[in-house]
């Protein structure tokens, strides 16, 4: 019923249906998000209507600037590399007004005066790091930054957050309010954003509200239901180069992966997904007229060690312990068997799923290959012996050579607890496998599985000052961390950042992390990659694909963006 109605035998195919992942029903339209509306599909859908200033993606197979889909046409750095001058493409809003520098300034003002309210805001970075916004003309403006930034970082991770927004329609504080330059002072900007937020709270009106009809991208909303069924239709007034091939795009929400698969099997979805266990029998789907295409993510997957755990922290602080544990993870086999090939081994902080010049050889070649003997030896060389139950016990307490290390008492047992997200068979199986390997080494692992949100909350416990009892957490069933185009670690591995949940603290690493953003050294990423791959701030784990897509034969979807975005305007029917 809800499938691709346009796919019948009859004539032109002008519709495509796309299955949304479970629980990702789109629920936000405004390019500026509120913090709780950060679902990935929201931004992908928004970007088809309000193109980003700099669209970075990997639809060409490599993470890079996608000029066609961006609002910016070109950029130029000043001598001191602090100022960047940007020229806009010849885009028009759907009401005929051209997209201008003022529209970019409008975004800048709203976010600059409302940082706390907006999702993805992080103090000190965008837009706090812009010291001056200078409008040169309608299509040109320049930004002066507070520091010199790494160019890739600035464009890919910072300026890509900006959207030109239709100031001439949105700069008001009520439905029938005057349009003015309200955004230019803090008070006005707050009111304007509040108004826009309140309109965006009402999903039922997304298709009818005039605000959202002013778009500059290839698509516009046709319908948007409460349950998250969204239909886009081509923006007839689109003036850019990224014209859509298929007029109507339907995003179908699902209640469970089982339900989605049943629908796929009934042939009612053009572009869906299946669980990776289906890869054991691909033929099932090729017979039904689908092609299976795993969608790799620009992500890494890992389990933070809780160095701050009052009891176990000192255990994890021992590098030999982390090395031994890492040696016990058979990433290749787990990826191949448990994930049925829908995961790739991941040995360090730079995603290994797409080519990138940041990947060091050390990380690529796995400094700690699967070797249970070596793992056990690392323990026994450091003062551990196997107890009667087969679990290692610290026999030689102390911090000297051949001793267990500082803070580990004699008689302490090698026991670890992994708090893991539930609901995924692959994750469960992976944990069972790791548990089994560790048991062979002599490490007793307990698995505690919880819903993802609970896991995330628990991971923050130490930071919020409540009990800090977790030891390792896993929240990577669909990848632990998705990077912006430039895979920096300042939000994961920097000393004081929020998602350094285990409070990893190594001055050398800290220096490298900071350099990623500010150094102009093109080799900096490789150094960073090499150091973190060997120092093991976290346990590196196989990185699962974003999803295992099934695509109807005849639908060309180009390359699937590792950044988990999609550009439906590039999809086309070939037969």
């Amino acid at each position: 019923q809800a499938g691709a109605t346009g796919n019948g035998e009859s004539g032109e195919k002008d519709t495509v249906s796309f299955a949304l992942q479970v629980g990702t029903g789109p629920n936000w339209i405004l390019p500026i998000s509120s913090p709780d509306k950060m679902a990935t599909h929201n931004s992908a859908i928004k970007a088809t209507m309000w193109p980003r200033l700099f669209e970075y993606n990997g639809v060409d197979g490599e993470m890079g600037w996608d000029k066609k889909a961006s609002a910016a046409k070109s950029y130029e750095f000043s001598e001191d590399r602090k100022t960047i001058t940007i020229t806009l493409n010849d885009l028009d809003w759907s009401d005929g007004t051209p997209v201008t520098s003022r529209d970019v300034e409008f975004w800048y003002n709203l976010v600059r005066f409302n940082g706390e309210k907006t999702g993805g805001y992080s103090a000190g970075l965008m837009p706090d790091n812009i010291v001056e916004f200078t409008t040169i003309d309608d299509k040109t403006f320049s930004l002066t930054m507070d520091k010199v930034y790494n160019e890739e970082f600035l464009l890919g991770n910072q300026l890509s957050l900006m959207y030109p927004m239709p100031q001439h329609v949105w700069d008001k504080t009520s439905a029938d309010g005057e349009i003015g330059d309200l955004d230019r002072d803090a008070d006005g900007a707050a009111k304007v954003l509040d108004y826009l937020f309140s309109e965006a709270e009402d999903m039922k009106t997304y298709a009818s509200n005039d605000l959202w009809k002013t778009v500059a991208g290839p698509y516009t909303v046709k319908s948007w239901s409460d349950s998250g069924l969204v239909e886009l239709t081509a923006n007839k007034k689109y003036t850019g180069d990224d014209k859509p091939n298929i007029d109507n795009v339907k995003f179908l929400p699902f209640t469970s992966a089982d339900a989605e698969m049943n629908v796929v099997r009934s042939g009612d979805v053009d572009y869906g997904y299946v669980t990776s266990s289906q890869l054991t029998n691909e033929k099932q789907f090729t017979d039904l007229g689908y092609t299976i295409e795993p969608w790799a993510g620009w992500s890494i997957t890992y389990m933070p060690y809780n160095f701050a755990n009052p009891e176990k922290g000192s255990f994890y602080k021992q590098l030999y312990v982390r090395q031994a544990l890492q040696h016990a993870i058979d990433q290749e086999t787990i990826s191949e068997v448990v994930w049925h090939g829908a995961a790739t081994p991941d040995y360090g902080p730079i995603p290994q799923t797409a080519d990138s010049n940041g990947l060091s050889d050390v990380q690529k070649n796995n400094p700690y290959p699967f070797d249970l003997k070596k793992a056990e030896k690392l323990f026994t060389d450091n003062g551990w012996v196997k107890g009667s139950d087969g679990t290692l016990e610290c026999a030689e307490a102390g911090s000297g050579a051949g001793q267990c290390g500082e803070g580990i008492a004699a008689g302490a047992k090698a026991e670890i607890v992994v708090t893991t997200q539930n609901g995924s068979q692959e994750t469960d199986n992976m944990m069972a496998e790791i548990q089994s390997s560790l048991a062979k080494v002599g490490v007793k692992m307990t698995i505690d599985s919880k819903p993802l949100d609970t896991v995330l909350t628990q991971a923050q416990e130490c930071k919020t000052g409540s009990a800090c009892t977790w030891e390792l957490v896993f929240f990577g069933t669909a990848g632990s961390w998705y990077f912006p185009p430039y895979a920096t670690g300042e939000r994961v591995f920097a000393k004081d950042t929020k998602w350094n949940a285990g409070q990893y603290d190594n001055p050398q690493a800290e220096e490298l992390v900071q350099a990623m953003a500010f150094s102009t050294d093109t080799e900096i990423a490789k150094k960073y990659s090499e150091f973190l791959a060997t120092d093991l701030p976290v346990m590196w784990m196989p990185n699962p694909v974003y999803q295992v897509s099934v695509v109807r034969d005849g639908l060309d979807i180009a390359h699937q963006d590792p950044g988990a975005s999609f550009l439906p305007q590039r999809w086309s029917w070939t037969k």
Partner: protein, 292 residues
């Protein structure tokens, strides 16, 4: 006495009930099935020893009949037949323990509420109503977000969501029993309330209790399966039939029937068997409605 001779010749209600129980073919089937399952689960591992602790990623998803794996292996390389045995141990154990826990709590709660009556009864029964008004699956889902699933925990959780029905049943009986003349006689001779409840009321609801307990066990085994389905199952290497079924279902379209049907079959059969026993016990304890 004239009637004595007749009485002497006839069977006691117990024997009579036994005979009636044995006449109930389904009940006999239930007993036999449970006995066979107990043998299979608890003695089976001696005959067919398998490693149910360590995974073996080199021999996953082997079809039935593979050497050493009469029922094949699952997606991390556990032998399915051996796993059915250990899973069965846990399913049956949780089922029995949770059923008994629920019955004990429910019986005491219901007996006291019914016996004491008045405001106490009202309050106690409102608590039961409140418990009934919250779907058990809902409670389980919330609890799953909080607690680490383990066998004792599952027993407690299932016990705690299933004592409500026995409480209602026992209360109803308790109300009628407390006005029985032997209870009145006890109170008239100065007997304590606790003696009335424990010595007279509870033992006389034994029929209801036992019949209900078997149904509780059956329901508990099903609930264990639902819990796994809802994502609160036991962590490997521990398992139960529900967890096996749930994980097997993922491979439905991969043609791995041996991961689905044996576990499904075991659940259906044991639950059926416990229900049949309950049905037979109903006849055993209850003479009502035998005529016509």
């Amino acid at each position: 006495m004239s009637t004595t001779t007749i009485v002497m010749r006839t069977l006691t209600p117990r024997q009579r009930g036994m005979r009636r129980f044995l006449q109930n073919k389904l009940a006999v089937f239930g007993i036999v099935t449970i006995a066979l399952f107990l043998l299979f689960c608890f003695l089976g591992p001696l005959i067919h020893p398998t490693d149910q602790v360590h995974t073996d990623l080199r021999s996953t998803m082997l079809p039935p009949g593979s050497p050493g794996h009469p029922l094949g292996t699952d997606d991390v390389g556990y032998d399915v037949l051996g796993r059915l045995m250990v899973g069965g141990q846990i399913s049956i154990l949780i089922g029995l323990a949770a059923g008994i826990l629920a019955t004990v709590i429910g019986t005491l709660w219901g007996a006291i509420a019914g016996y004491v009556g008045g405001v106490v009864d009202t309050v106690m029964m409102r608590v039961v109503d409140a418990g009934i008004a919250i779907p058990a699956t809902f409670l389980l889902l919330i609890l799953s977000a909080i607690l680490r699933p383990s066998v004792p925990l599952m027993i407690c959780v299932i016990g705690l969501v299933s004592w409500l029905v026995p409480a209602r049943l026992v209360r109803a009986e308790s109300i009628s029993l407390k006005s029985r003349e032997y209870v009145l006689a006890l109170r008239a001779m100065g007997g304590s309330h606790s003696r009335a409840v424990l010595k007279h009321i509870v033992p006389n609801t034994v029929g209801t209790i036992v019949v209900n307990a078997t149904f509780q066990v059956a329901d508990a085994i099903l609930l264990v399966a639902y819990i796994s389905f809802l994502g609160m199952g036991l962590q490997k290497p521990a398992t139960d039939w529900g967890a096996m079924l749930t994980s097997g279902i993922t491979y439905t379209y991969a043609g791995a029937w041996w991961l689905i049907f044996p576990a499904g079959f075991c659940i259906v059969l044991t639950v059926c068997a416990f229900n049949s026993i309950g049905d037979g016990l109903r006849d055993f304890f209850d003479v009502k409605g035998r005529a016509a």
